[in-house]
Point group: C2
Chain length 382, copies 2
Amino acid sequence: MKILIAGGDGFCGWPTALYLSQKGHEVVIIDSLIRRQWDNELHSNSLTPISSLNERVSRWHELTGRTLKTYIGDLTHYDFLRIVLEETQPDTFVHFAEQRSAPYSMIDREHAVFTQSNNVIGTLNVLYGLKEIAPDCHLIKLGTMGEYGTPNIDIEEGYLTIRHNNREDILPYPKQPGSMYHLSKVHDSHNIMFACQAWGLRATDLNQGVVYGLHTGETMMDPVLINRLDYDAVFGTVLNRFLIQAAIGHDLTIYGAGGQTRGFINIIDTVRCIEIATINPAHPGDFRVFNQFTEEFSVLDLAEKVKNVATEEGINAVIRHLPNPRTEKEEHYYRANNTKLRDLGLEPHLLNQQVLRAILHTVNRYKDRAHLRNVLPAVSWK
Amino acid sequence: MKILIAGGDGFCGWPTALYLSQKGHEVVIIDSLIRRQWDNELHSNSLTPISSLNERVSRWHELTGRTLKTYIGDLTHYDFLRIVLEETQPDTFVHFAEQRSAPYSMIDREHAVFTQSNNVIGTLNVLYGLKEIAPDCHLIKLGTMGEYGTPNIDIEEGYLTIRHNNREDILPYPKQPGSMYHLSKVHDSHNIMFACQAWGLRATDLNQGVVYGLHTGETMMDPVLINRLDYDAVFGTVLNRFLIQAAIGHDLTIYGAGGQTRGFINIIDTVRCIEIATINPAHPGDFRVFNQFTEEFSVLDLAEKVKNVATEEGINAVIRHLPNPRTEKEEHYYRANNTKLRDLGLEPHLLNQQVLRAILHTVNRYKDRAHLRNVLPAVSWK
């Protein structure tokens, strides 16, 4: 299949591009490279030394003989997107190309407006581009489990059968997003649902949990192919961040009580989920929602797991509770369904001591690259 | 009270400004005057000859001695909004200042992107402006009943108690908006709800039905104060449009079967609802939702009511069914709650023959100003 991957230079996009290329698909990458600029803006960096996109795709070609065509540009520029779609005529459009950090969106008004306009207008352009140029193309859009918030009832996959006053309907699951970023994803979901209904587009919204790990079989083939790894309080996600904090001798910093429970997924499963969605496309007119995570953990659970593995490795990791910079419940009910991807063949790689140890070993190799001042949260929701 | 009215030159905003001024409040108008530019873009016009905003506020001052201060500028320009908020320090911010036409938002990609970015970013700026400068100010935001779509269960006011797998929660009512414009209002609602929870702002979201009529006690005081009236297929709303079609000898054009049922409200009640929300503000941290309509009618019902009144007035009005340019159900369940505003004192002005006849008489006076080519729908959802 011909697969366009928007955001194909990023943390999820790059390993997905390699995985699908290795599986024999014709993969084309779109990326604005803006994620690398945000490192400069925040005076931060990937813990792992990442090569340029050109170096990456050249090495991939040398190693495998496979070509990854690249287009450097931004989805908010419709004329650019139009050309890419016309030249590519993709079967699948995988859309990772959004600002994906909640703290980044909460820095100030400018970052909130940037996040919502970048994400919402980029996705609107994708919808209009598909309608105009590739109406049969399957859109696979990365959403987030954070769209649902933490309701006091079970979270279903996108839709909920509701009985009310002796009548019944299947309605979009109510959303309670907790940051300007999460809100942008909810806006996207509504826009995509409408485009499927009005124009007959086909889309899969993948509400992904927190991703951990960094390596896949492909990114490990060569140092030039290594994936980025974020440890800072703006872009670093919780489990990876704890492992890096342990490696650099920093306290494991929990926001508030640590009872916040979320869905998690190994990056190895992320790339497989994209493949599953690709080879099992939504039907024309369908807006399909999959919850893309494999296990649920509380933040405190994870800190303790990391502390245990660190201890075995001779590291004395201390768990420290910080005042919560976010507005969120610290103790709450959480139970989310995630059967649809498993029904289509996902065999989850679960989190165990061995997995944690492997990430810790990788992290340890690059720990001197970390800037300590980036580790503690500087962005508040208030 | 000091009340800022954004969009105070528009169809709802202007009569609201006069009504609240007449009630003794200190009213300040913000408007970009862009609605008047859209008339130029669409080669259309208000059926009634409207004066400039300067002429309007001068005449109001001559007639009543009351001052309406005006700021001409756009909510998407934060520096402008900041100055207005600092100089005004309002108790209430009434936000009508959005692109409010579903067909306009569906013209093409550019109009969809304009509508969503204009509405969403304008409202984000209002939220950040209130947070920064007037955190105790009560935001009254105009939403639309169209945010809910046409679910097969009763529509509640903003929230729904949901029982699921033996657990229960009160969650935001699921939204199924049917155009790029309606989607923008849903995005706004989510953004405002978050701002109330995270920052303790106070807001009332008024999900308004289709407004009909044009006169209020204040706009009728002088020809210079007359309200605008839209009859074109882009900005004209259904009941007003039928009355104007009858007056100019055009068929009453129904989209599809005409079973589409919606909530309706007289402009006289709109201005009273804003007053009710103003003098009964939401509590800090509360995101309150009122459904602002007084009666439900199907489109076919309304066409028949107009036809009957027209016949009495010696006009032979013909009902014609057009292919539906929209994507919507033409026969569906519809029952929406609207008790919250009545509980706070709204005494609805219901639709009857006398009301229809009065609008028809006004319309008749200005019918020669209508451009016939603007009456039939030219914008399709497909």
